[in-house]
Amino acid sequence: MNSASCPRCPVDNDVMDNNLTDQERAIYEWQIWVQDLGETGQSKLKSATALITRVGGLGGPLAQSLAAAGLGKLILAHGGNTKPSDLNRQVLQTHAQLGKSRVESCRQRLLDLNPRLEVEAVPENVSEENVAGLVASADIIFDCAPLFEERFLLNRECVRQDKPLIDAAMFDLEGQLTTIIPGQTPCLACLYPETPPGWKREFPVIGAVSATIANLAALEGIKLIAGFGELLTGKLLLFDARTMEFRKITLRRNPACEVCA
């Protein structure tokens, strides 16, 4: 697909093909060789701003992959300080960072990888108070929150502001991923019309499982921004690490959805 004519791309289609510096061409040379991406796609990545909430076992590796791929700006929203139990999966945290701000650790690690990246570290989780401003600041939103209350807030705001939302989640050895385009695909409230009972913030997780879903989410975002490939729009990708099986499930919009109908 010609990314310059892609109507679903959240980045302005007028982005110039030539906004890359010589240094960036050298850094991203092997990536630009991917024919579907090319220099045009790389330029779009450079022009894009992504919001990632939160930057834990999913959001951390996701942010790392987007930073490595050459996104222009990342907004990281995550409250609290690094705890010992974070370190099995939150790859942007370090032992030396224990007890210190999570997002600050993430910001520093990402800049070590890509000093050209602009990083806005917001030391808060998504809430009623900040969700509108956070979503408004980004072209694309990655939902990696461990609580449904945060996911529903993001979903509602993305529908209201017509912003693409990539929703990644996992439990134990399973993970799932879908891409929500307001007005075109089911939204999160179509899938879950009630607040699910009994979900706890703490859940079983091996870091390699969350990182697998994180990197699939990063790839989905790169494709969406650059405008190539088939997206998980109206589809839910299920991954089972026990059997190493992937399934793609067709989703249905809820005609009575309180958020997007």
Binding site: P196, G198, T250, R252
Partner: protein
């Protein structure tokens, strides 16, 4: 007719087995299968999957890689595998 029920996510963890086989009447809905699925089940599994005798609205019923309406009859065929996927939000 015979169908297999696969439990995913939290339901798999709470169930004694990931899969169970059921002998069901033709035209059964997903809601109709709940008593058999939850026979002898842990209270947490019952609460996760069902509310007032019906599949919870937050649980996806997946048949042949499509989500289906749990109230619809005539969808399940002999030999089918029906997956039940409760919500997950691990991040």
């Amino acid at each position: 007719m015979k169908v297999t029920i696969q439990l995913l996510g939290q339901a798999r963890r709470l169930a004694a087995r990931e899969r169970l086989e059921l002998e069901i009447p033709a035209e059964s809905t997903v809601h109709d299968l709940l008593p058999a699925i939850l026979k002898g089940a842990d209270e947490r599994l019952s609460s996760l999957l069902a509310c007032e005798g019906k599949l919870r609205r937050s649980v996806m019923a997946i048949l042949r890689d499509e989500t289906i309406d749990p109230a619809a009859s005539g969808l399940l065929q002999d030999g089918d595998e029906l997956s039940l996927l409760p919500p997950m939000s691990g991040g």
